[in-house]
């Protein structure tokens, strides 16, 4: 194990931890919107950290360039996808769990 590999291991392990958080969050949290938090944040960080870890090991090569592309792409698209899903849910009229009364007050009568 070279020092770079140890650093990369840290990245990958932390990334895996956040992948775990994302999974637990999606399974455990109540309601679609809450699950989106887990999907958009933890999963993004988990994947970005893991990819950054292995990109470190590869140094400056075409392969690490591909990983960086993938990383930036995931970084930009994950929240966008989460947003698209949230918006679709809102269009379909899925109500957030909790705070229903509060939201009902704010909506007013159409």
């Amino acid at each position: 194990m070279t020092p770079i590999e140890i650093l990369a291991t840290v990245f990958v392990v932390v990334g895996t931890f956040f992948g775990f958080v994302a999974t637990v969050g999606i399974v455990r949290l109540p309601g679609l919107y809450a699950r989106l938090h887990a999907a958009s944040k933890s999963d993004t960080l988990g994947s970005v950290l893991s990819l950054a870890g292995i990109a470190l090991v590869l140094g400056v090569t075409t392969e690490s360039l591909k990983l960086v592309f993938l990383l930036v792409f995931l970084f930009v698209t994950s929240p966008t996808a989460a947003h698209a899903i949230a918006r679709a849910a809102k269009e379909e009229g899925i109500e957030p769990i909790g705070e229903d009364a509060r939201l009902g007050d704010e909506e007013g009568e159409p």
């Binding site: 990958v12 999974t23 994947s47």
Partner: protein, 107 residues
């Protein structure tokens, strides 16, 4: 076959140590396990969007697994697969979100 693949993708001279390779494979196994656990949400729902969220994360996990395995085994050609998979995953989420709104749910 392996040598052909490597030649086609022009892999770098980087080789990773055996320990590191094992760590990467373990991480890949963990991500695979997460994907399997996420299938619970895919099956359970309750709404179409819940399923899309879970499938989207499963897709992201797949991309990472491919990338991790690619480096662990030195099969750098797999990275292209990961790249395409990432693109498809994004397009899938957007498309299904749109379709559920326009056609009132397909799943």
């Amino acid at each position: 076959m392996t040598s052909v693949l490597l030649a086609a993708s022009g892999g770098p001279e980087v080789t990773v140590s055996e320990t590191f390779s094992l760590i990467l494979l373990a991480a890949a196994a963990a991500f695979t396990l997460f994907a399997v656990v996420l299938l619970y949400r895919v099956v359970q729902g309750p709404t179409t969007q819940d399923r899309i969220v879970a499938i989207n994360v499963v897709g992201t996990n797949t991309v990472i697994v491919i990338a991790l395995v690619s480096v662990a085994l030195g099969e750098y050609g797999y990275l292209d697969v990961a790249l395409v998979y990432g693109l498809l995953n994004f397009v899938m989420s957007i498309a299904v979100s749109k379709i559920t709104v326009e056609w009132g749910g397909v799943l």
